[in-house]
Symmetry: C2
Subunit: 199 residues, 2 copies
Amino acid sequence: MNLAQDSRRARQERLVDILGREPFLTDEQLAAKFSVSVQTIRLDRMALGIPELRERIKDLAVSRYHEVRSLAPDEVFGDIVELELGVQGLSIWRADREHAFSRSSIVRGHYLFAQANSLAVAIVDADQALTARATVKFMRSVNAGSYMIAHARVKGERHGYVRVGVQTKVHHESVFEADFLIMRKGIEITGGSAGEGCD
Amino acid sequence: MNLAQDSRRARQERLVDILGREPFLTDEQLAAKFSVSVQTIRLDRMALGIPELRERIKDLAVSRYHEVRSLAPDEVFGDIVELELGVQGLSIWRADREHAFSRSSIVRGHYLFAQANSLAVAIVDADQALTARATVKFMRSVNAGSYMIAHARVKGERHGYVRVGVQTKVHHESVFEADFLIMRKGIEITGGSAGEGCD
């Protein structure tokens, strides 16, 4: 066994370790971490039988969809990869060029809103849930090609309205934050209150 | 001239008058107003040379697009039919089945957000404008097939941030309200302030 094989084996062991802790790193991010080429990471993944990121996300997402109550699987904007109904969830969505402004390549805000809103509705433990209010902050502009990782958490519930906080990150950096007030279906609406809701 | 012709002429005169004041009424709404069939309204429109609502909207929208500075024409979600840069604007968007939940036919909230956000950005008098914050209320659920009429108004400007209020109505009833804080491009960002923005 030569030095090259040694370093490859060490790198592959670290790769398995890192992807165990951060499963949503792209090949580009892994290449930067190991100071090797993207092609090297791809060969390592193949040798280890680890599918590419898109496939890893789809595999995780498919296993979660049957747990969502409030939305049909094809109605979730983004891939839900973690879900504890009534508690929290995680979704991943890759923004492509079609989601960005042509002049600037900046991803359009309503897609970040859509991902966060879908996830917030999905983690509500009810057969139908409608958004009544939302407060959102766009912290940083996001370029097409980025993977958006949204994390939603139920913050409380009162009179049938569930408050859900969502934080969306790209490369560990917060790009979007939202606070949703979501109504479980079947709650009587009183005039002038949080409203009937939508989505 | 007989009575039938008399009433038709009177109705057609009122039709022109009503559409002058409320140009975005559908044939169904006009039929209900006149207590006649939708077919009768269509024949009246044809006799008067008034195109159908979709055409009326497109005609108005095309004439407005060159005035928008901050977005390319195909980037506006909805049709902008009125625009006073830096002051106010009106956009119309018809929600189809593809924009609604399959189970309930309720239009998804992020489309109402997209229409309002597009319009809010479009009325800003700048070459590029990014949304920093938004507060939105969903007042009533909207069914697929509805025409959403959004009206945006600039409420103030401070340190390069423009505040825009948007109200969206269906059949004169408020279904959605939003308050956007939009950053003109080129404004220096100070850490922890309203952020870099998106859209």
